[in-house]
Each structure stands twice: as C-alpha cells, then as structure tokens.
C-alpha cells in the first residue's frame, strides 16, 4: 500500500504543479501539455515517455487496489460474526473512509481521463487545445462538473491525510514525536494538494481564467 501509494502521490504532486501552469496563460499551458508528449525525445520516440509513465501508474494503481482488496477481504474474514452493538471510540474519519473513498477516487479518475485526456466527455474535446478544454469543462453553466470534481478532490484529501501518515507508519515511523510530525505533515500535505487542485476549476468558475 505504502510503496504504490507513494508512486501515485509523486504523480499527484507533478500533476498539480502542471495544472497550476494554467495561471501563466493559454500559450504557456498548451506548450506545457504538448511538451509532455515530447518529453524524453530524442532519446525516446515522441509520446513514449508519456506511455511509460501511464504504464507505471496503471501498475501502481492496480497493485494499490490489489493490496487494499487483500486487506478488506482479510478484515471481513477476521470477524465473521458482527457485533450487535458497536461504538467507535477513536475518531478518525479519514482512516475509516479509505475503502469507499478509494472507490470514489477510482470512479473519478476514470471520468477524469475520459473528460480531459481522451476528450470524450468534454464539451470541446480538442486535443490540440487543452487550455480551451479546461475552460469549457468548468464553465459556470456546467456547475455540476465542478461540484463532482470538488467532491472527488475532497475525498482524495481525506484519503491522502490517512494514507500519507499510514505510509510513514508502514515504512517504520516508530516514535511518538515522529507520529505527531507525520500526522501534521500528512494533514498539511492533504490540504495543500486539495487547494492546488481546487484553485483551477474555481478560477474558471469565477472568470479568473477564461
């Protein structure tokens, strides 16, 4: 869980930084998007780097889901008879929503690829003009897209809050002081990442990016 999660988190950071280039203007953003296709040339043929990255991410996602499934199946098997009366004493919303949160994030990622990568669900869907696709996607009359995007990103934030701490712990974080730091770092990271992703649709919604 931790190792594949870290791979996915590294991608999330780079993806967020790339998104923020939308504030540097249409030419710069489109140039960045096209540059991603040329990345690795002339060592690799055009778009090869992109496909290698996609393959690595797909393997990471599948391994992450696989490990989560093993844990979920083991958890179900470990308690065949449920409690008639159950009360949670440790309040940890993020940790308890990891499984369903993960499912929501997966559904969002599928939608997101069909929307802004392949363009099938995008009102514009012009591969040559990613800036225009983003602006058309989050237009004020398509408020429900922004709403779904926001919900998915907030879910991702919760997932990362527990996931980041849990990764530290799984990889051997062991002192009480370190635990406080790891929890704080996970919270700050989740909030920063959420803010970084949400600022783009809301900039389009408010007309800051047009």
């Amino acid at each position: 869980m931790a190792v594949t999660g870290i791979l996915l988190v590294l991608f999330l950071i780079v993806h967020m930084l790339g998104n923020l280039k939308i504030f540097t203007g249409e030419t710069s953003f489109d140039h960045y998007a096209h540059w991603l296709r040329d990345l690795g040339t002339p060592l690799l043929p055009t778009t090869w780097y992109l496909w290698i990255q996609r393959a690595v991410l797909t393997v990471a996602v599948l391994a992450h889901i696989g490990a989560a499934t093993v844990l979920a199946v083991r958890a179900r098997a470990a308690r065949p008879v449920a409690y008639a009366h159950r009360r949670k004493i440790h309040v940890n919303y993020a940790a308890r929503t990891m499984r369903w949160g993960g499912v929501i994030i997966l559904l969002f990622v599928i939608y997101h690829i069909l929307d802004l990568t392949t363009g099938h669900l995008n009102p514009q869907g012009d591969a040559a003009n990613p800036y225009g696709n983003v602006v058309a996607d989050f237009a004020p009359e398509r408020w429900y897209v922004t709403l779904f995007y926001t919900l998915a990103i907030v879910t991702l934030g919760f997932h990362l809050r527990h996931g980041a701490f849990s990764a530290f712990r799984s990889l051997g974080q062991q002192t009480p002081k370190g635990e406080r730091r790891a929890r704080a770092a996970a919270l700050v990271f989740a909030v920063v990442l959420c803010a970084g992703y949400l600022v783009v649709p809301f900039a389009v919604l408010t007309g800051l990016v047009a």
Partner: protein, 253 residues
C-alpha cells in the same frame, strides 16, 4: 440502580447464539462490573437457570482474563480500565447495557462471553521469548539500557494480552498485541540475538491465526486498558522491514 442487561448467550461453540435480556434490580454503584454479573448469576442459579459464563481471574486489572464488549466498547466506557476494574457508577439508573464476547475468527466463542484466545499463545510461541536462560534478575548496572529504550520497552511490556485490541479493531487485527510482544524484547539487549527471526515468526503466526491486517486506524490503542501506544506498531514495522531485507539474519548465510 436498576439495570437491564442484554447478554450474548451461546451454549457452546456449535450453537448459533443470541442476545437475551435480563433485568437486574438493586445494583450498587460501588459494585464492579463483574460483581454485578455475579449478582445476576447467583439469581440465575437460584432460579435453576444456567449462569452466564464469563472469563475472570485476578479482578485487579492485571491478568488480562476479562474480555467483555460492553455497549460496543472493549472493557466498557472507561478508558485505560479493564472490565473488572470498571464500576457501576459509570452507568446510570435505568440504563440498558449490551454485553458481548470479543468478536474475531481467531477468538472462537467457547460459551456465552468466554472466547478461546489460544491464537495469542501461538503468536507468543512463534518467538515472544528469549531462548537463552537468563537466570535470576541481573544486577541493574551490569547491562546498561538507555532510559528511553527502557521506558518504551516497559510501556510495551504492560500488555496483559486481553485481546481488547483485536475486539476493537475494525479489521479484526491483532497487530497491537503482536507489536507489544515484539518490541518489549527488541528494545532490550537480551532480545537482540533473536530480534529479526522473532518478528517474522510472530507476524506469520499472527496472519496464520486468521487475524486481519493493520491499517493504522488507532482504535486498538484507544481501547487498550494498558494504553499501549499506537507507535508500537511502527516499531514492529521497522523491525519487520529490516528482517526481510537483512540477509545476515538468515541461518547459514
């Protein structure tokens, strides 16, 4: 106080089991929870009924025998307290109290509220000891131990093996118990020679017993009557990672 108890009754391992309601009048707030169950059982015996079976031994909160899920919380509503040290003043007059056994595949119900915790013994048998005979307690200064290590080892050694961590864990994992038993030895000089074979053996025995996997939620540590800290599991994880990457620990290499 007058209470209504809803207690899990199960005649044996093969019985399906059910919650049965018992009114218990005239309970003193100064009674312990187990004394209150004793009162109920005396009445059941006088009435010619089968008394409620529950585990108990020292009734001082140090043996780890009592194992009651009270109103959905392991050992009841008071933190850092075993069920035997829980007093009826924690409850209010007229309250309905649900009492269930620990629920885990690795802890099958023997009868009523008694579960078989042999799975914990199997984990201990897989490495939770020091093989070399160490004799009687050595002179304290002969083997220096850093204060922080001694404190952390002691907090892990406070584990009484009651199984509340498993009962409370949403994953049914026994990782807090396993971690406590691994780290109480791995932090001390006497535990070093078998440090890395111990952690692998005990984690394997834990998984084989049918416990779930840990997802770092923290319910175990909150439910633990001895307050074993959650970071104990981090110590186990670090030892496990080292053990799986350390070739020098493999016999014959």
């Amino acid at each position: 106080m007058n209470l209504t108890l809803r207690i899990w009754r199960q005649t044996g391992p093969e019985d399906k089991g059910r919650m049965v309601t018992y009114p218990v009048p005239d309970v003193s707030p100064d009674m312990s929870f187990l004394e209150m169950l004793d009162v109920l059982n005396e009445r059941l015996i006088l009435d010619g009924e089968e008394p409620v079976a529950f585990d108990h031994d020292c009734r001082e909160g140090i043996c780890g025998a009592c194992s009651l899920m009270i109103n959905g919380e392991a050992h009841g509503p008071q933190r850092g307290t075993t069920a035997c040290q829980l007093h009826m003043r924690q409850f209010s007059d007229g309250e309905t109290i649900d009492i269930e056994p620990w629920r885990a595949r690795a802890f099958p119900v023997v009868k009523d509220l008694v579960v078989n915790r042999n799975a914990f013994d199997k984990i201990i048998a897989a490495g939770g000891y020091v093989t070399a005979p160490t004799g009687s307690a050595p002179e304290a200064h002969s083997t220096p131990v850093a204060k922080e290590d001694a404190d952390a080892a002691f907090s892990a050694a406070a584990c009484i093996g009651c199984g509340a961590c498993v009962a409370a864990c949403p994953n049914g994992s026994g990782m807090l118990f396993t971690a406590a038993k691994v780290t109480q030895l791995s932090l001390l000089p006497q535990g070093q020679p078998e440090r890395y074979t111990r952690v692998i053996g005990m984690v394997d025995a834990h998984d084989e017993a049918g416990f779930g996997g840990c997802t770092n939620i923290g319910e175990c540590s909150s439910a633990c009557p001895k307050g074993i800290p959650l970071n104990t599991i981090g110590r186990l994880n670090r030892d496990y990672l080292k053990a799986t990457t350390k070739r020098a620990g493999t016999p014959g290499s």
